[in-house]
Amino acid sequence: MSAPTTEAGGFDVVGKPVQRLDAMGHVTGRTQYFEDYNPAGMLHLKMHRSERHHANLVEVDTSEAEKVKGVVKVLTYKDVPKNWYTILTLINVGYPEEVVLAEKKVLWMGEPIVAVVATSERAALEGAAAVKVTYEDLEPIFDVEEAIKPDAFPLKPHGTNYFEYEGHHCRRVRLGDVEQGFAEADHIFEFKYQSRPIEQAPTETTGCIVEPQHNGRLKIYSDTQACFFTLDNTALILDVPFGKLQVVGGTVGGGFGGKVDVTVEPISCIAAMQTGKPVKYVYDRYEEMQISSPRAAERIYIKDGVMNDGRIIARQCTLYADAGAYSRHSPYAATKAAAHMPGPYTIPNVHIDSWCVYTNRTPSSAMRGFGVTIGDFALETQMDRIARELDMDPLALRLINAYRDGDMKAHHKVAEGTALIEVIQKAADLVGHELPGELRALSSREGR
């Protein structure tokens, strides 16, 4: 919809490099972020976190924390109206499987157990450090392929260490007959790829200030990437009507996906409701790096059936996304990853299994290129390896397999608006990489 005209040019403002609206504020340090708000009487919240990867909680003793000078409130799971939640239930994916504060068990080192609210940041930190937890250690699972073995210890009450997709243990994509493709291929190339967790590393760490209003509502100043998503999830955890909350934000010091989980607002709201005071909860840099969800580590296997002329006739991809202890946004990304495979190429036989696997590490979640970035590393490294093995020009290999308008993608959607061929041709021009005439003449608009 909506584009009044799509001819090139003819615009007054669109397509012009106008100065960004917030540039002067940013470069002169005058832009207001949520932490620039400093209401009178504001309290500070800090968290006592799990020191174990996987353990039962035998005893949680908060008596010493309550004695710390300046501590005004100590919150446990009993203070959280709906302690079990899952942010994706807002878009009908999954069911409550994460806790705001740990109850009987911890599933990752850093999992929040007790929140301490105090008149100063220092007192809150001292209070959090004074909480004593007695653990009964359980064997942790750190490897995705160990986690999904039939005899692996189930981490959560529902019993599987992977997200179930409509009765399947992974998101599937199927096109053609991949086994027949392998049988007909001149070459088989099968390789494994692995990434490690990556931090979004925003300049501004995750945080919020919650201020009770005179009319009984709560005003949440937040650096969330999604104001209403945060509002709705927070209201569900608080078990209050959505209309009781207001989120104010919109100017954020970098997000990169790290600020779409809802981790600081709900407990801050509870603290504000119980004390009647404004409450601030902001991650320090350690929390941003090791507690806030990173980009998932992924393990990817790609098996290709390729003809002597470079045509890929079968591709099988098995992807394991390490979600860490809880779902957060990972089940969504595993589906997105499945739809992205087998890359921007037209391959007649495709078999994709994309797994979302739980382990005893910090829950991973969204980051720029969610579900795709690591897949592209695997796919495009695989393409280079095939070209080397066949002694082919790596751009030629991509061009002859490139998808074009009208092609059927592996997830059974007809491709349109394709331009892989054109970006490759242009890149070849930029670096003086010569392409033979028949590849130079290819166009995404012409069917194969």
Binding site: F11, D22, R196, T381, M383, V423
Partner: protein, 335 residues
């Protein structure tokens, strides 16, 4: 011992919009008596420039100067719903919603001007400098400030519009994965030129050539910033970053920027970037989303360039000096 030089390629696509859809965004546009038009949103600007894009799209659709647009975001009491800033959806969803709202506001503006000028609204046009004028006439015109005042105090008319964009939810077919996950695909090809020091294993990315097909660059300068900033993140992902350096072993996670290394400006590559525009039928003025994808192609391009330079095939990220030296040792042992 030598500095070895190599070149690597990667080509990628990337979906615009929240996977599987079902993600709406609304926009409201209204004129105040100052002649400014306020675009009300609840969308979040992370520094990528969404507010600027919304203002440009509103100005273009209204036919008014960019300077007349005020973007008011993000307060859930005053701005209509937006799903959020993620999934390369902002420009596409917000842009489309703003166009729809601005079209309605433009119609109201032209009708008010028609009444004030005593002409037919269909015979009016905007000149892009703030005037609404009778087509073919230089005398019969009214400035938007005068019009906004007249509409409010004399004509009793509002100048406002409502807009929404919704891509409907697609449910994947469980057996085959048949689905409609996205609104468009943007495309990129990256060429990386690197050196590898075979004594220290240190990789330097010398030059990155980035070609992006983005549908339409609403703001070419900001699109270029996304491309080159993202390529820098790609260099960082490829060569430096992880919170778990011995994954899946959980120990030795960095705690701050002293331990979590990232490339500074001096470590960044020289960039050459080109934008191709093939307007998307469903995009605002043809735009696709490129916010996320710009970190993707650089990673395999660098991996492939390292192989081209020294013959070490890296299959685990990040590509540390240690992994390159171990690869070189393996090659020597095999030879």
């Amino acid at each position: 011992m030598a500095i070895l030089r190599g070149r690597g390629y990667a080509a990628v696509n990337y979906p615009t919009g929240m996977n599987l859809g079902g993600d709406p965004t609304q926009a409201l546009v209204h004129a105040t008596t100052t002649g400014n038009f306020v675009v009300s949103l609840s969308s979040v600007d992370l520094g990528q420039g969404l507010k600027t894009v919304a203002a440009q799209v509103a100005a273009e659709t209204l036919g008014l100067p960019y300077e007349n647009i005020i973007v008011d975001t993000a307060d859930t009491d005053t701005g209509p719903h937006c799903m959020g800033t993620f999934a390369s959806r902002g420009t596409h969803r917000v842009g489309n919603a703003v166009i729809m709202a601005a079209q309605e506001a433009r119609e109201a503006m032209l009708e008010a001007a028609a009444e004030e000028l005593e002409v037919d609204a269909a015979d009016l046009e905007t000149d892009g400098t703030g005037f609404i004028k009778l087509k073919g006439s230089e005398e019969k015109k009214i400035h938007v400030v005068d019009l906004a005042l007249a509409a409010h105090f004399k004509l009793g008319r509002t100048i406002a519009g409502r807009g929404i964009f919704l891509k409907e939810r697609s449910y994947p077919e469980p057996e085959t994965g048949k689905m409609d996950p996205d609104s468009a695909q943007a495309h990129a090809c990256t060429v990386a030129e690197v050196t590898v020091d075979d004594e220290t294993g240190v990789v330097e990315v010398l030059h990155m050539y980035n070609v992006y097909e983005v549908g339409r660059a609403i703001n070419p300068a900001m699109a270029r910033q996304q491309i080159e900033g993202g390529a820098w993140m790609g260099v960082s992902h490829a060569l430096y970053e992880t919170t778990e350096p011995y994954y899946p072993v959980r120990e030795h996670g960095p705690r701050d920027f002293e331990e979590y290394l990232m490339p500074g400006p001096a470590d960044n590559a020289q960039m050459t970037s080109e934008i191709i525009e093939f307007p998307a039928a469903n995009g605002p003025y043809g735009a696709k989303g490129i916010g996320e994808m710009t970190a993707n192609a650089p990673i395999p391009a660098i991996a492939n360039a390292i192989y081209d330079a020294c013959g070490v095939r890296l299959t685990e990220m990040p590509f540390t000096p240690e992994s390159i030296l171990r690869g070189l040792d393996e090659l020597r042992a095999r030879a």
